[in-house]
Symmetry: C2
């Protein structure tokens, strides 16, 4: 008795319709990356554990999928070690490879390994799956795709500008209305400097973020509870209440941060990015948002995140500037800036708003009904001509009942069906049926091609 097959938890099969939608997402992102001169690379699914371990924190190390060594993976391990049953320690003996956890560390490894072949600035994109042994839950998977673009080897803020243009263009093409949030790590550092509470910056941004919900008094109360001094809270007031246009916000920040060189640098960078983008004219809103504080340890300059306006969902794209991507692999001084589109969340948003263009999801355009060997042979001739003209077409391979064949066309959403019986054959034509309108007309091969390619 064969076992009923299943798949590992947190993983997914993608059906033809889901794949068509996913391809639409990936192709749209890819096309825009190309418009901006980014080039694709791919790295192996497995990396050496020595490359991956220690790059994602202790928690990250635990979430790596490790691959058991081939052959006798027990060699070199003492009985005592075995009986210790120390799962983490022995994993590093049983396994020397792991599945990649993100695209950033493999990219850093790639840059270091291929430094002599790469011409900098290197504008690369990468669309590949990553794996995390996370507890699966709604919207969180153990295998999912990342779509990253990074420019490394250039400090220019034009890179930040272009990445925001890419974000704007991609979501405009999707038809998803978004707000692009932008902040700068240097501004956050500046704030910490002027209030003298460098280690409290996350607490501060979390509290500020609640202003709309809980009001100023409660925000200040929360800050005090987090151990921030009265004096510091007083200094924070203009920042908590920061409002108005981006220009107004930047003006306020210049005053508040006048004593912090780093802070002012962050304001200046943001000003350049926002001003240049204003000149270029974005289709979507871009907003300076001081509560944005993603990946503090990693980013060193501009940081950004994208929120969908019409769907309740977390950030659907994010990124920022980092200053030392490759240092951990012994190559210092490589600055970079990148973005990552969240394909799975974009998939959900497009589904919820029903924004997939019809042609993105449609496959076969024409099905020939099969009435038997002779009719099929005749149909195959027209079919070949249709395909040569670029029409995606098929013939039902078996002379099954008409009902079954028509139902196949319906399920596959095929818009046209060609019916070739004895009468049609005698006339050297096919009956072309429009499945939506129900309209039928007797056509030659050329007329059929004309009808489907117009």
């Amino acid at each position: 008795m064969a076992a009923k097959p299943g798949i590992p938890k947190g993983t997914r099969d993608f059906s033809p319709v889901e794949m068509a939608k996913r391809n639409y997402i990936f192709n749209t992102i890819r096309d825009v990356y190309h418009l901006y001169g980014f080039q694709q690379i791919e790295t192996p699914s497995m990396e050496m554990l020595s490359t991956l371990m220690g790059k994602y924190g202790e928690e990250g190390d635990k979430l790596l999928f490790k691959i058991q060594n081939s052959g006798d993976y027990f060699s070199g391990i003492t009985d005592e070690e075995l009986l210790s049953r120390n799962a983490a320690k022995l994993a590093s003996k049983f396994c020397e490879k792991g599945l990649r956890y993100d695209l950033t560390v493999p990219f850093a490894r790639y840059v270091v390994m291929h430094r002599d072949e790469i011409t900098f600035p290197f504008k690369r994109y990468q669309i590949q799956p990553v794996w995390r042994a996370d507890r699966p839950q709604k919207g969180r998977y153990r295998e999912f795709y990342q779509c990253d673009a990074d420019v490394v080897g250039s400090d220019s803020l034009l890179n930040e500008v272009e990445l925001m243009q890419i974000v704007d263009t991609v979501f405009t093409r999707f038809g998803i209305r978004v707000c692009i949030k932008i902040n700068n790590r240097k501004i956050l550092t500046g704030i910490a400097e002027i209030i003298g509470e460098a280690d409290k910056i996350v607490d501060i941004t979390v509290a500020i973020d609640k202003l709309d919900k809980i009001g100023l008094d409660n925000v200040n109360k929360e800050l005090a509870e987090k151990g921030i001094s009265e004096e510091a809270i007083a200094k924070l007031q203009p920042i908590i209440l920061l409002s108005g246009t981006n220009t107004e916000k930047l003006a306020t920040l210049k005053t508040v941060l006048s004593d912090s060189e780093t802070g002012l640098k962050g304001v200046e960078e943001s000003e350049f990015i926002l001003n240049t983008l204003q000149t270029m004219g974005l289709k979507n809103e871009i907003e300076l948002d001081l509560t944005l504080a993603r990946g503090l340890n990693y980013y060193t300059g501009a940081i950004f995140e994208v929120k969908a306006l019409d769907v309740q969902i977390g950030s659907i794209t994010g990124g920022g500037r980092y200053d030392n991507l490759t240092g951990v692999f012994g190559m210092a001084g490589v600055s970079g800036v990148g973005i990552s589109f969240g394909a799975d969340r974009i998939f959900d948003v497009l589904n919820q708003l029903e924004l997939y263009p019809k042609e993105a999801v449609n496959g076969t355009q024409l099905l020939f009904i099969n009435f038997g060997e002779k009719e099929a042979a005749f149909s195959m001739g027209i079919l070949s001509k249709a395909r040569a003209a670029g029409i995606r077409a098929e013939i039902f391979p078996d002379a099954a009942k008409m009902k079954k064949q028509m139902s196949y066309a319906n399920v596959k959403n095929i818009p046209f069906v060609a019916i070739v019986g004895e009468n049609e054959m005698n006339e050297g034509k096919a009956m072309l049926k429009n499945m939506e309108s129900g309209e039928q007309q007797l056509v030659t091969a050329e007329e059929l091609i004309g009808a489907l390619t117009k």
Copy 2:
């Protein structure tokens, strides 16, 4: 001191140029699959080991990459079992998941799991990597892509015909001249039947294959050495010496196999496939080749393989008809037929024959030289218009030395460079340089777009 990073043996990084070439291959195959009504699916990289084990023979089981269970993978294992150090047995306790070894078993699992959602016949294609812990060697990798198309749930030989048309179309598009070899498992069974040596069929095809090299006498000698009776060898003579057109070969086989019902069925099937293809008109040669005997245990009807004519390399595509794909997962009676393109070998052939179309490998079409902030700001305006017109364009992000920027354009094979200095800015124009001819002309944004989109 950071360790010099490497990647697991048998795996590869793909550079931008390699990726462009690989995408050209995948896109060509994908486009043709679509023309024939095939739909894409994807399955997870990891499958349950219970799904994979026992499907590829004992050797295959050893070549599976196994993924260590998360958490305490020692639980439920006795000290005695641990100390036995039985690597294979304990792997099944330490690991419950493995990386997929091919696309066929996951596809079978998919069909069984989703049988209620699938409308048959199901024409699916799948382009994904597979992993094998094989000893790496030239042209053999531990991670490589397969590009499979299968039709399941239809016995019709039209499926075989269409798969051969797909093969013909794909290689015509690549510009690779090929010979499509076709055989039929039923013909081989028939031969074994009439000579009464069912278990010797592989020995027979191997010996026949050497006819050109070693001559008839030596072939017969080899057959005798393999323990085939004198009487059987006599009966085999017309088959060993089989020659002429496909029609002539089929005529001979009809006579020789007249006592084998299965053999005659195989001849009849081959006749239908070859005759229909002749009517359709293939661009490449198709040849009935009795020495073709791939995967005997698996295939049950037509089998095929593709050989490149202008490069010395093994089969670059193969496939065939199987009758019980899903039986091992408890779903009987599903017949199917499929092909698999060998992307890595096709990559090598296209490289060797230098057949990549120029536009497939080219990325960015236009680079703006960056002379400083003001010039860059002006250039960004034209750049936006060019991109909106679909031109893949970039600006060098830093105001680096001219030589460095021009060298970037050269390395990236960018055909046009736009130079915007003070003079150009004052005229509201850009100097457009054709990198191949060296020709320069002063153009407006509109003229620039015109020059690059014509």
